[in-house]
Point group: C3
Chain length 418, copies 3
């Protein structure tokens, strides 16, 4: 760590400044021929109109994802700290790479959609971060951020521009993509010791409460996430209402199934922290379609059930059989519900719920789902190989799930498990 | 818990889906005769205009109430977890029952006011939850949510539609109602062991800090709560400004009196966490009236004083004399300040501060206060009896204030009191 | 504490109510000659338009500043509790004193700008609070709030009205001012024992996580802080975008330098909690100028580097050589970056980035910086002397950094360092 991390971080920041110097301008500088002041004012007005939705998403990225991962007893500094570091890099790189792709290499004029999309690309990396949490170094995460956002932007371009598929809440392009990308990386970085019970891979009472801060802010602002880039206010309305009702339904089924599969009917904090959110993921793709409020509730209920069952039965199996260790269980919160989201959109279109304003077809939705999964797995495998054999600054197994590998940690005394 | 909880939760969710399938549609589907697109866009615009205020209220419900109750050292999982569960059910049931009442059984078209009102009905249950916190099972809370919201909606209908009373911030219909309903339930569920000092009914250092997260988000967003359903933008303005100044005044008097009644002048965290918010409750009913900023400050100052004195002198007395054990002291934060709010509105109207746009009279305000208190107490007693003798899955006394009754709790070692 | 604190707090609140009774009215009461309803509606509309930005700032003041200071292991109650107390007084007094100054002693009509500016004046005191944290009594803080806001309002009047200087994000008038005022007070209140290692002046694992709640909410909403009082929507747009990109760049350099100067390359939580925010401070003054996104990133990168170096090398030196003990290191988060902000605005104007709509000149910017620093230091010294020799209720050294001086603190058992 001594020199590699500072050099990589400074090098990346200098690169970003250079790229921005050449390619990025203010939205209000666009179209310099048109002189009237009104135009710029209008652009700025549009910016401010969507600003509250953007801020909601921003809270999700920094506080939501950051604190959701603080459940580990000795890895809270890294969870919330590396989360901020990834976000800071991802917001710059995502702004650039998505802008370049959509503008065919021309100057990028920063508007509200650009910074919302940069938050989205960052969310993708943070989902993958959950799969490799505690087993990867900060330098590896910086490199992974660069690689994953590039692949993400490519897939998103294919899905949106070529397939013209509909994925407003990004169940496929962010959630499923981020989960399977992360799982692929986790598979490559796998070490056999992960199969053994690791005392550090547990929570303590207060770390579980910190994680609930993340859960709640994600839950509250998820409707903003799913509606932020809607094209019309009506679609925005639909996306908010559908997400809201999918989430509330999901909570009831997640709690019910958590109790059902628990010892003596007890609830498990891991399920509550994560599966309560699965409804937000699963309704994403068809959030702006007229699926009816009860349709959204059916999607949410299903996601809550599947997510808890995934945590209980699938995650242990992934580690033991497939040698994929998924620290936060992102497969259950983002992977499976993301796939459900894609499939739900196919069903919704079949049932006639598609939007008037788009040419979305079942075939293109299926292609989008396939592309997201395929690109994620291939991209994740290649990224994993690069991280394992080229970047090669992975922490040794004894420092897995332990802040003291990369942080000055305050002395602990007797009560260090509380 | 083994089967009753999952069955009740799943059963309720299935019921909600069925009810929504029959009765709930999108606002944009309303009035299908009118074909022009503009109408739907306008409705969606209105929705988005109030969306930031709604989100503020939503943060209060989930993060504010949820974390405010985490002060107990061994009951944080339940506080924040059951809070989310109640909210998820309440938001669905509240949307339905309020919609049905106001639409005389016709189809409900979901607009922003519907989901704000659903949050309000949920707030009422969460206030009552504070009175019975630690002494009630999840199944009982689900049943209580259904019953209380039904009674709440009935009283709100009477107050608003029949009495035409003014109660924009709902001091009477939410705060006083929720407090006295909860106290009535707590009275019925009372067990004599509660009079003894219970080591679990205490906070630890960090649990008090978690509770402050709740306090602060409630404090910050209270102006949005009191103004969210204002009819005109001018009333919205008044409600925000009045609430803001009532809250700031309340903090100073609450701190002063907490120190005054404390040992050697010391401040008590229970007072700070709760009484700092009493100004938001007490100004609720007349928040949209022209009571002048200094009038709001007088109301807030009074509420801060009364609330701290309530915690110090009244709460112990309630337990010992009336056999009503109020875990969070909701009587001091919501009960007394709610009554002050109702009385303040009568004084304000007498002094000529009523709103131009309503026919609010002193008599109707008094009727509203009486109705809210009466309905709450009778409804709470009946609900308590149902919970005690029909639902009958109350935890045994040794599991009071203890997460381990319903949650898998991480192992604690020596330092489990920190 | 026994009587002095309650008397001072009640006395101040009564004074505020009297002052507001005589001087403060609703904005909608303004210009009573003009009778049409439309005018009031328009004012209320404008209020609501900026309300989301105000709420963001409000979250920063209460949650951001409050939790940022909870890093000390035994001083969390005071950090977040006294923060709320200061805010409650400051919001009232700031509204009054700024209003009186700008209206030449005439009636103040409360609009959105008034309450945003009151939050700003409060922020200034909270910055100074960071310098004296743990070494000052609540009574002293109340008096300091009154004195500092008066001096702040005077300097802000000079900078804005007389020099016509530009300082939208208030790098000079809030951040540099608050830091140097606080350092001056800390210098006067210095006690030689502070030079020794104090076991209480440390964090524990979870207190550092609580502090990150503060950091993240400050980081997320800083763009709203820097843009809230912009005159045009275009300037608001610029302020948001520039602040956003300054902050992201700052994070990368702060992390890099923290690792570079750390033992074996380890990151230090103090740097991460504070220096990650320096970019928001430093870009403040020129946030609404056309400095280009890459220009904002250069300012942010520089601030991140300077801030960490300040924590590492300057803060120990201040204590040892200048006998100024800066508990939170506000010199590194607000002082130095604030000065950088002022200097950056001079460079930006020299390079032609000034705003079309103002008459800002390099000379006036320099005068503003000089005035802010000079007024802060002189005002802080006088305030410090008043606090030390007239108010004289400072805690004794053994109660420094210890909540138990002013709070009922829950019993701790073995694990009290966790």
């Amino acid at each position: 760590m001594k020199l590699s991390f500072p050099l990589v971080a400074i090098g990346l920041e200098v690169s970003m400044i250079v790229l921005f110097g050449f390619f990025v301008k203010y939205e209000t500088e666009h179209n310099p021929v048109q002189q009237q002041y009104g135009t710029n004012a209008t652009k700025a007005d549009k910016f401010l109109e969507l600003h509250p939705l953007f801020q909601d998403v921003h809270v999700m990225i920094l506080v939501g994802f950051g604190f959701l991962m603080t459940f580990l007893k000795k890895y809270g500094f890294s969870s919330v700290g590396i989360n901020l570091l990834i976000a800071a890099l991802g917001l710059q790189w995502g702004t650039f790479i998505q802008g370049i792709l959509h503008n065919k290499g021309q100057t990028i004029y920063i508007g509200i959609k650009n910074i919302i999309n940069a938050d989205f690309s960052t969310a993708t990396v943070l989902i993958s971060f959950g799969a490799v949490l505690g087993k990867i170094s900060p330098v590896q995460m910086l490199i992974m951020t660069i690689l994953e956002i590039a692949v993400f932007a490519g897939n998103e371009y294919v899905v949106g521009e070529i397939f013209q598929a509909s994925d407003i809440g990004a169940s496929m392009t962010i959630h499923a993509f981020g989960a399977y990308f992360g799982l692929a990386v986790a598979g490559v970085l796998y070490q056999s010791g992960l199969r053994r019970q690791n005392e550090k891979e547990e929570s303590v009472y207060h770390s579980d409460l910190f994680a609930m801060i993340g859960t709640l802010f994600l839950w509250i602002f998820w409707p903003s996430f799913n509606s932020a880039i809607a094209e019309t206010t009506e679609q925005q309305y639909l996306a908010i209402v559908n997400t809201y009702f999918s989430l509330v339904a999901c909570v009831l089924t997640a709690y019910a199934v958590s109790s059902l599969v628990g010892k003596r009917g007890k609830l498990d904090m891991v399920h509550i922290q994560n599966a309560s959110l699965a409804g937000g993921v699963a309704v994403g793709t068809c959030a702006d379609m007229k699926i009816h409020p009860y349709g959204a509730m059916i999607i949410g209920s299903t996601a809550g059930i599947v997510s808890v069952l995934g945590f209980k039965f699938l995650t242990p199996c992934l580690t033991d059989k497939l040698r994929i260790h998924d620290t936060c269980g992102v497969h259950n919160l983002h992977g499976l519900p993301g796939v459900i989201g894609g499939l739900a959109s196919i069903v919704a279109i079949e049932l006639g719920a598609s939007k008037a304003s788009t040419r979305t077809t079942m075939l293109m939705q299926a292609a989008a789902l396939g592309s997201s999964l395929g690109t994620a797995i291939v991209g994740g495998l290649i990224t994993g190989l690069i991280l394992r054999f080229i970047v090669c600054v992975q922490p040794s197994m004894e420092f897995f799930f332990d802040d003291s590998a990369y942080w000055e940690v305050p002395k602990r005394e007797e009560g260090d498990n509380e």
